[in-house]
Each structure stands twice: as structure tokens, then as C-alpha cells.
Symmetry: C2
Subunit: 418 residues, 2 copies
């Protein structure tokens, strides 16, 4: 079978499965999720030995230590995957929720009801635990899933998917509800994203080049999970101790993730009070600070920031700092350079807090808190499939509700249109 | 300026305008809508004389009488456009609505707020009144709009857009909030749908070839408004008088629209009772009926339906009829051949009504009513930009809420992530 036929075959099976899955009760879906969790725990040794193959191959290929770390499956990570599936089982089933219902003057009752989207294709890289998380979220919301992970994790992903399929089908879910694309070259992605007759949504998680290729070539609607270039703006009159805690947390607590701060903007009236202590603390934590001219007047031990810095998502212990003359310059900077993922203001001023909330058009806009909270669990939505940086369908952390579509149901007793 | 530069220039202006428009009050937006309505009424004579050019050109080009009818601007249609804009002014502003807000254990208050999408590009054909409707809906929901109508209505569209722009800007809306693409060849569409840095959503209304070209080439998320191949299934035990009224209405009341019935499915137990009277009434109304073998056994004056008939959206006084052995065959037929727009069951059976509602995955699923109700006004949503036949973002009639995005706003008092 060539790649095109292989993908078409999987897509057909998924579509067939999705029609059955849409009618499966919450109880059966939850039992399947619990069985999938047990299946992973029971197969921990096999998982680790298959994962070892990926790690060895990754070493040969010269993957970075950060990539190698993300790739590794330890006992702790395997039980993390299992408990993730159990948590999804415990979440309320979004399918069947009637979100609104009203009556028209002619007596028609019109409602909107959440239904599964159908078939979801997910394209992702490196971390094998995404395989379990994504499958769990899609099944719980009644969707069939086609998984296409990266080549670096193919042995781990194949093993995880096999276990999940076996457990799910034994527990009563239809064949074809979880399928992994074993072909890891780019052509498989290119074929998959054009099967719009069978696949209803593509979730794309990954680097710029993957997202770009998917966006440009897909004929299926795409939920993009791309960059996070997040800002914190420290306003004049802010509680500077609070500002330092928030900025330090946003930069340092976990610098490699999309909701970490990359640029700090500081009102010039408080720059002299705020920056020296802040930058010392960042330097002590081994953060490389790159500042504008004003920043470097105040703190001479700061490196020079270039235009490129404002556009860079570092994902490591590097921070760019800019002193701005007012909130408008801060908002302009964010709207010009930001990825509109998560941005925060630290302020004590009511009007400026409102202005920031209204004018910063990011998926998550914060007043007086760390941008690091942009996360399905932290928001109280439960697990997430990723964080959407686009404006349509869903924005921010994508939970179970975001994996549903809403259709209209209409109850009449003979109404016809005049 | 070449086409590419022209589109880029419009997109840049629209994006700039959108940032301002997002902050404009409902009062100013409503005043602008009223001014736009007045502007159209005042210019009725100019509009009709410009429209005459389009009609003359259409006659030369040999447009069908249906197309010519849709193209014509009469006094009644001009006042219809104006009153449409006034109705939009009277609808509640969706921008700023906080749809949910909750508190986390750490004290963070997290909410979802409706905001404009940004810049919306709309691609449409023939009817010039879409120009006014689309502009009104987009402005009310705080979005800048780029309009690309068809060549056949270019004089009418240009005049309408000029009037709308003048009225809107005089009333206080930012320059660039409404822009018409005067270039009507396909290349303008192809350039427009790739400007993903500036345009946030494309609404595509039109025939199969337009929708296909847009879907395959757009890098911007597309809201598709395509075919409506709608079914009515008459169940055994249904009130046959009610069924005849509903089916007759769904086929005959306005056959040229997307929510009209194209295929009637009839349970074989009632086919002999139901079909003769039904088909006589349809024949009397000059409907050409094409039936399956069973239908033709019962009514010998019915033409033969072929496989192609089940896949055809006639949009005229033609109906295909199939006798099915049970509800499962009816649902299978709909899921196989339908466009998943609007489908109805006529029944008096509780379980089968539920089965149909659950298993038919269309944008609008009806029990005991005509499919002709799938419409923003009939659903009580106010005006609509079209009817979405896709599953993401919005499905069914697209009203003002569907032209918004929801972002998260988070209120803290110093929270940092542990």
C-alpha cells in the first residue's frame, strides 16, 4: 500500500468508527479510559524497552538534551500518562449538553446541542505522552482520532497506541477509533491534511515549519498550537514587590514552555526603582538579560537588545527588557511583536487595567498574575489537547468542550414556513 | 498597483482599522448603521442606474433569468437593504459579553469574553444586497470587512460600498473599516485568501467551484457556506396530513434556496397511503418527481431516479423520492448522500424521534417541521451572514455571535505558579 492509500484507508476506518462512537454512552467511554490507563501500567516494562530504541536512535541522530529529556519514558511518566487518562474519565462528558434552548413565536423549540466533531487528526512532535493524552481527550468527547507523531518517538508511540487500541476495543469502543500513522515522513502529513471528506479537524502542534506547511496545504480546518511570545508590562504605581514575583515566576519557573515570559516591558517612571533589583535577581538565576538603551542606562551589566530580540521566543533563560513611556507604547509593542498567546499587566490602576484587558487581543490577558497559568488544568478545564493561538473555534487551552461541535435541534408540531 | 499589492494594501488598512473598531462603543456603531441605511435610501436613484449597467451586461453575457432576478435592485430591495441595516442596529452588541466567569482555588478569577475576530474577508456572488448585510453584521460585531463580490454585480457593489463607507466614516467609524475589492477576476480571490497575517477569517459563499478553490488554497480559516441537500423522512405512524404539509412546504415554498428539500424518504409501511396524495399535490404544483422502483410501483406517473439524483441539489421544482424499509436506512441515506445542512423527520414515535436527532449529524435536525426554517431570522438570531455547513467555530445560520472570538481574561492579586 502506498502512503496515499494507507492514509485513505485509515481515514475511512476512522469515519466509520466515529459514527458509532458518537452514540457510545459516557459509562462505556469512561470504562475504556480506565482500561487504557491500566493497560499502560501493565505494559510499563515493554514501554520502557521500546522507548530505549527511540532514545538510542535519538542519541545517534544527536538530539539536544532537552529533546532527549522530552522523549524519555520513565516509570513516573508512564504512571503520569495513566493517571492523565483516569482524570479524563472523571471529567464530565461534554457530548449531549444542550447549551441553550428557546421557543419561537410559532411554537418551534430550538436548541443547540454539543456533539462530537467526528474524526480528529493530530500532528505532533517528540513527547510520547501526547499520544495517550490526545487519544483520551478525543475518545471522551466521542471523536475518532488519527495520530501522527514524530519519527523520533515512533517505537514508543506505536507501543502506546497498540496498548490503547487493545484496551479501548476490549472495553467496547469501535474498531478504528484510535489509529496511529506509522509512516513518519512529511508526505504522510501532506496526504493526511487533504482528506477533508473524512477528517473533520487537524490539530497541529509543533515548530514553525510544521505549522506553516500544515496551514498552507491543509484543506481541513486546522487548530494551530504555535508560538508563545508572552509579555509582562509593569505599570507605574504597581506594587513593585508583586511585580518582581510575577515577572520572576513568568520567566524562570519553567522557561521552556509557551506561556513563559520572553519580554518584560517597564514604565519609565518606575524603571529606576524596579529594574536594578529585578535584574539582579534574574542574573542570580542565570537569566541572560538583553535590554533597550534606557534599560542599559539604568543597569550597565545588561546586554544590548536588537530588533530581533523583540521577535524571538527564546524558550530558555533569556529575557528582553524594554522601558516604555506609557501603557500605549506597551500595548503597541505587544500587538506588534507578540504571538497573542498570554500577556500580563501588573498595575494598581483601575482604568489602565481595563485598557490593557480591552486592547490586548491575546488568547489570555492577565492582570496581576503570572502568564504561566495559561493551561487547561490551571484554568480548571481539566486536561488540554494544546493551547490554540488562533481566533476561530477555540482560543487558549483546548479542553473537552473544544473537541465538540454544536448542532441545532428543532422540535415542531407541524410548523411550515409562510 | 498590481493585484497582489492592491490586496495587501487593503488588508493592511483593514487591520489598522480593526484595532480601532474593536474599541468603538455600541452607540457609535449603531449610529453608523442607521446612517448607512439612510445613505442607501437617499441614493436609491443612483443605485438603480448603476444596477442597470450590471443588468445590461448580464443580459449580454446571457445570465439565466434566476440570476438576473437575484441581481436586480428595485425600490423594494433597496429599502430592504436599509431596513436590514436598521434591524442589525437594533440587535444587542455581542462584543464585551462575558459568557462565563469562575474562581480558582488560588483566587484567580478567570472569564471568557467576546471580542471581535478582527478582519473578515467575504467572497460572494451575484446578489448585491449581501454587500450591505455583510458590512452591517461585521461592523456591528466590531470587525473590519473586505468585500469581494462577483463581476456580474460590480457596478452595484461599488456604489453600495461607496455609500456605506461615506456614511460609516462620517458617523465616526475608522477609515478602512469597509473595503471593496474592485478587481473581479479569480486572482484577486487567490491573493486575498493567503493574507493570513492580516485577515482573520474568510467567509465563502458560492458555488462548488468557488468553495473548492478557496478551501484548497486559503491559509486563513474559512467559514464555508456551500450546498444544502436536505431530506425529509416520513416515518411509519406519522400524522400523514402533517407530513404532506411539511414536505410540500419544504419543496415548493421556495425551491431555489439551500434549506429546501431535495429528497423525500418514506417508510415502506405507509408508502401506499402517503405517496399517491403527496405526489399528486406535487405534480399539481409542477414539481417533477423522480422515484425509486418502489415509488414507481405505487405511482406509475413518476420518473425514474438514478444514483445521481440522490447526490443532486436541484434548487428547483424537482424532487427525488425513495421508499426505505426503516429509519436506519433513512439515516444511512442521509449520512451518505446529504450535505448535512438541514434534515427532518416526521414521526409520532418518541424513540425514533430521538434516534433521528442523535444520529443525523446535520447543522439543523428537525422533528415535525419544515427544513425551510434554517435561517437566522427564523431561528431568532437576527440577520445572518450565511449558513455554515462546517463543524468548527459555527454551524448553521451565522449571526453576530458567530462573528466574535472568545478570549480569556484573568484577574489576580499577585498569583504565581508553584
Amino acid at each position: 500500500m502506498d502512503i496515499k492509500e494507507l492514509l485513505l484507508d485509515k481515514a475511512l476506518k476512522a469515519k466509520k468508527s466515529a459514527r458509532i462512537l458518537a452514540g457510545v454512552s459516557s459509562r462505556v467511554k469512561n470504562e475504556a479510559l480506565m482500561a487504557m490507563a491500566d493497560g499502560l501500567m501493565d505494559a510499563a516494562e515493554v514501554l520502557k524497552s521500546e522507548n530505549k530504541k527511540d532514545l538510542e536512535y535519538g542519541k545517534e541522530k544527536g538530539l539536544s538534551s532537552a529533546m532527549m529529556d522530552r522523549l524519555e519514558l520513565t516509570d513516573k511518566r508512564i504512571s503520569g500518562m495513566a493517571s492523565g487518562l483516569k482524570e479524563i474519565a472523571a471529567l464530565p462528558d461534554p457530548v449531549g449538553e444542550i447549551t441553550r434552548m428557546w421557543k419561537r413565536p410559532n411554537g418551534l423549540q430550538i436548541g443547540k446541542i454539543r456533539v462530537p466533531i467526528g474524526v480528529i487528526g493530530i500532528i505532533y512532535e517528540s513527547r510520547p505522552n501526547v499520544t495517550a493524552d490526545a487519544a483520551g481527550l478525543c475518545l471522551k468527547s466521542g471523536n475518532a482520532i488519527i495520530l501522527r507523531g514524530g519519527s523520533e518517538a515512533i517505537n514508543s508511540n506505536t507501543t502506546i497506541a497498540d496498548i490503547l487500541v487493545k484496551s479501548a476495543v476490549t472495553a467496547g469502543l469501535p474498531e478504528g477509533c484510535i489509529q496511529l500513522v506509522e509512516v513518519t515522513d512529511r508526505q504522510a502529513v501532506m496526504e493526511m491534511i487533504k482528506l477533508d471528506k473524512y477528517i473533520d479537524m487537524i490539530v497541529a502542534r509543533g515548530g514553525h515549519s510544521l505549522i506553516k506547511a500544515v496551514t498552507e496545504n491543509a484543506t481541513i480546518p486546522v487548530a494551530r498550537h504555535s508560538a508563545g511570545l508572552c509579555h509582562t508590562y509593569v505599570d507605574t504605581g504597581a506594587d513593585l514587590d508583586m511585580a518582581r514575583e510575577i515577572c520572576f515566576n513568568a520567566k524562570v519557573q519553567r522557561p521552556g514552555v509557551c506561556n513563559a515570559m520572553e519580554t518584560m516591558l517597564v514604565h519609565h517612571d518606575i524603571a529606576t526603582d524596579f529594574l536594578p533589583g529585578m535584574i539582579k535577581r534574574l542574573h542570580d538565576a542565570e537569566v541572560e538579560v538583553r535590554g533597550c538603551a534606557k534599560t542599559r542606562e539604568i543597569c550597565s551589566d545588561v546586554m544590548e537588545a536588537t530588533e530581533e530580540d523583540w521577535e524571538t521566543e527564546y524558550l530558555e533563560l533569556v529575557l528582553s527588557v524594554k522601558v516604555v513611556k506609557d501603557i500605549d507604547e506597551a500595548i503597541d509593542h505587544i500587538m506588534t511583536y507578540g504571538s497573542l498567546h498570554s500577556d500580563a499587566i501588573v498595575t494598581n490602576d483601575y482604568s489602565r487595567a481595563n485598557k490593557f484587558l480591552n486592547q490586548v487581543d491575546s488568547a489570555a490577558v492577565y492582570v496581576n498574575a503570572s502568564t504561566r497559568f495559561t493551561d487547561g488544568n490551571e484554568f480548571g478545564l481539566g486536561a488540554e489537547l494544546g493551547i490554540s493561538t488562533q481566533k476561530l473555534h477555540s482560543r487558549g487551552p483546548m479542553g473537552l468542550e473544544d473537541l465538540t461541535s454544536q448542532k441545532y435541534i428543532i422540535f415542531g408540531n407541524g410548523q411550515i414556513r409562510e
